[in-house]
Amino acid sequence: MANIVNGTDLRFYKAGTAIGEATSCQISFTMETRSALTKDNVGGFTRVEAGQRSATGSFQGLMAYDTTNESVSDLFTSYTNGEKFILRFTDDTNGHPYWEGTAMITQIDFEAGVEANAGYSGTFTFDGAVTLGTES
């Protein structure tokens, strides 16, 4: 039976430091398509070719001002400065894959409900290619 990955292991590391008190994260890859339908290949279905690729990452967590990992203040500072950084999505285990690219924070939300944990969420947008590597 295959070893199912525990989602707790996978984290975003912003410039090498984990996003603090994270509760979930997600990385998404999309690709636009180019229509390649011509009179020579008409068959009742659309024909496409690979187009522009893009990637984004989203993260959620609980707000803690004193976390030693990337705090909401660190994230906000990066957002304000338009900072680009190396972002890696990995479980940091030898032999396991990682996805890495240059990214910046394009959205950050803070939420605070009455008698509820304050939380944060946000979006990374990758600048350029995301590469697949193997932890070593």
Partner: protein, 91 residues
């Protein structure tokens, strides 16, 4: 990888425990900023072994019967008396 900060670095002060990539940990430890934390518990997902529990005796309550009726059900059944007739009489 969990590291322990030894020297002030950025926002970190000595004693801080931080989760960084192994490459970052190697770079920081090379400069003496940190050391590998002895407790990598967050990364250890081996479940702690638990003692096997013996199956517990379960008493099922029949809520529809009064206790006396339950005792009647649990009592040993009486042996059926065989009616003697012409067909099963002892020889």
């Amino acid at each position: 990888m969990i590291i322990e900060i030894l020297k002030a670095h950025g926002k970190w002060v000595p004693g801080d425990v931080v989760d960084v990539t192994r490459q970052t940990a190697a770079a920081l430890s090379f400069t003496g900023v940190c050391r590998i934390h002895e407790d990598q518990t967050r990364r250890d997902y081996t479940p702690t072994p638990t003692e096997p529990q013996e199956p517990q005796q379960v008493t099922v309550n029949n809520y529809f019967l009064a206790p006396e009726q339950v005792q009647e059900l649990e009592a040993e059944p009486k042996e059926k008396e065989i009616k003697r007739s012409f067909f099963n009489r002892k020889k």
